[in-house]
């Protein structure tokens, strides 16, 4: 007999009645006890989201955040028991959540927070030997075709909002009231050692790194960056990747 389908459905939908077939030793209404399970499920999922999206929560306040997270959790419960990465589509939910429409930067702040968690738990990888890269860079004719594998714990987030400044102001860096939210910023998220670093980079450098990270050759990445900004600083962007130990392979064999 299928007990778990109605039980699970009632857990995630408060409008549904308590499932049939439940009994209590003292004859009390099982619905009150079933409510404990419902509460455990929803509160634990909202807590998991609050852990990941702490700045998002600070931007809207606890009450607003928990109400929004509750609606998300009921509509988008986790598909995996590995909860560390739960909430990947919460930023998109926020973007389409009418009560949050007055904070157009909120979804991108949430995206940045999620990318931080992804970077925190991403695979470990060793950087290439800087001298190997230096040797390759001396052959200018080979540069446009050069491909790189970037660290699994690296991500770029281009935004129409001041996503890095908003996030940093909640880490005690800069004053929130001085941030102009409508100023576009590009975030580079990268784990170095055991710490996840978030820094603002030029939009063109973001396009360059994201293109390289997608496995495309350096020439194509530089062209995209230059199209965004004629003053794109190729040496500066490469130097940043190198200093951050973010390049883990040169001309990797690509899967066909």
């Amino acid at each position: 007999m299928n007990v778990q389908t109605p039980f699970a459905a009632a857990l995630l939908d408060p409008a549904r009645p308590c499932p049939d077939g439940l009994v209590t030793w003292n004859g009390s209404d099982p619905a009150r006890r079933f409510q404990v399970y419902r509460n455990n499920v929803i509160v634990s999922l909202v807590d998991a989201l609050a852990d990941t999206f702490a700045v998002t929560q600070q931007l809207v306040g606890d009450e607003f955040f928990r109400a929004m997270a509750r609606l998300y959790a009921c509509a988008h419960p986790p598909r995996s028991p590995v909860l560390a990465l739960y909430g990947g589509d919460f930023p998109a939910f926020i973007e389409g959540f009418p009560p949050a429409a007055g904070l157009p930067y909120l979804a991108d702040v949430a995206r940045l927070e999620y990318l931080r968690v992804v970077a925190y738990h991403a695979a470990d990888a060793s950087p290439v030997d800087p001298t190997a890269l230096a040797a390759l860079l001396t052959d200018e004719s080979a540069l446009p075709a050069l491909r790189m594998r970037l660290h699994p714990a690296l991500a770029v987030l281009p935004s129409d909002a001041a996503v890095v400044s908003l996030w940093a102001a909640h880490q005690g860096v800069g004053a929130l009231e001085e941030v102009i939210p409508e100023v576009p910023e590009t975030a580079l998220i990268l784990r170095q050692g055991l710490e996840v670093d978030v820094r603002q980079i030029p939009a063109a450098a973001g396009a360059f790194i994201a293109t390289l990270g997608a496995g495309l050759p350096l020439g194509q990445a530089a062209a995209r960056a230059t199209a965004l900004d004629g003053g794109f600083d190729l040496a500066g962007a490469l130097g940043l990747l190198l200093q951050s130990s973010a390049i883990t392979a040169l001309n990797p064999v690509l899967p066909q």
């Binding site: 007999m1 004859g27 619905a31 399970y37 499920v41 028991p81 909860l83 738990h121 470990d124």
Partner: protein, 301 residues
Amino acid sequence: MTTARHFLPPGVGGSAPGAGTLPARSGLGLKPEHFHSILETLPDLGFFEIHAENYMVEGGPYHHYLTRIRSHYPLSIHGVGLSIGAEAGLDETHLDRLAALIKRYAPQSFSEHLAWSSHGGVFLNDLLPLPYHAETLHRVCAHIDRVQERLQRPMLLENPATYVEFADSTFGEADFISEVVRRTGCGLLLDVSNVHVSCVNHGRDPRAFIAALPLAATGQIHLAGFARDVDAAGDPLLIDSHGAPVADEVWRLYRCALEMLGPVPTLIERDNDVPAFPVLLAEARKAEAMLSTFAEAGEPA
């Protein structure tokens, strides 16, 4: 008296940290906020326990710190997401992740719950109750058989904390667990707090309940805190919150369990409102003091 050693596969034994069994001492749940404190002080503790699912990530600080802590302590891996009671089959992908984690960290113990937590592709993040009858017995045993076959080791099954019972149950919980242990050869993780919570919630005698469990198969004990609520009749309803110190009633029941069992590896669980490490260490010391009383007295006949 049979001890946990009975449940080891042939050829496995010896002292920690390498392989074998958990020592009959107290241990603590490993919390990321305590990684530094533990590695700086290397407190004298019997073992650490992790929730398997928290470490099913590819890399980064969790694995960095767990690797270091594992080199100093025996380890228990405690699953919270395998959904052994699920009406659908076991999630083989999850079982693969679990097998990889166990291979990587070679824990002295692996345990899971008599509960379900996934249904229809959705993970509900709670340990949900099962009716106890022939059909669920068959299903739970088939799932445990599969887990033990895939992991190539016996597991411990934890008695649940529950808030409701099912009209169509034909077994009492202790009888159901006894039958699972008999049929699968798995061990028992005796969660003394869950015994207390469930017995209050269902009007049972906790001492009689413990005595009816397959105690000879006990490989570990869990102790945790609970929250107090009331049901629709105004009777006490205890909630297994893991968010408070171990209550006096549970310490008394623990002593009673040790009288029946002799010393057993004992975990202090704390997953919510986690205090500073020394606070948890003090609770572990309290359990250790009780364990040592029973160790000096020798195992019961």
